[in-house]
Symmetry: C2
Subunit: 99 residues, 2 copies
């Protein structure tokens, strides 16, 4: 039981890191864009009016937390939302701020 609590306690640090990944406007805008459709890096940069480099840096973080995945498509690399978990978390967040 005390053991179980410690496991949870350790997990909380990872949890904070996970939410930190959601907690940046650029990354949220990326995630929301991918909510609607898949994007190549350049298209994402254009769509969000940011440099390709900035987007790439943030995609790397999102990938580290398994919030997005990607696959090669010719010269481009197509990014997509990792799973419905991500969709649910974003949806819950939107519900909260819309209250």
């Amino acid at each position: 039981m005390a053991e179980n609590r410690n496991v949870k306690e350790d997990e909380l640090y990872d949890l904070a890191e996970l939410f930190k990944a959601f907690g940046d406007s650029t990354r949220i805008r990326i995630l929301f864009a991918l909510f609607e459709k898949d994007y190549a890096v350049n298209d994402l940069a254009e769509h969000l009016n940011m440099t390709q480099s900035a987007i790439s840096h943030q995609l790397k973080i999102l990938k580290r937390f398994k919030l997005v995945g990607n696959s090669r498509e010719g010269k481009s690399r197509i990014y997509f939302l990792a799973d419905d978990h991500v969709r649910t978390i974003i949806s819950m967040g939107i519900e909260h701020i819309e209250e």
Copy 2:
């Protein structure tokens, strides 16, 4: 429709701010402690092994985003989780990292 999109676009900044509130280990530990029971500020500080000041600063942030509420109880102020939304978001997050 274009109008609707802009509304969403603006909301995304608030959404990032909301997740930022979850994205700190101290605040997550506070939220998780309150997941289990209500706490006065001092008890929370003791429970988490942190100064009262640090906890108070973070509680202020959590309150700003309506993640916690409080009520006076004699000399103390008892903090509690604002609603089930918060519980759900935390639960979803834990599920994600446990995958």
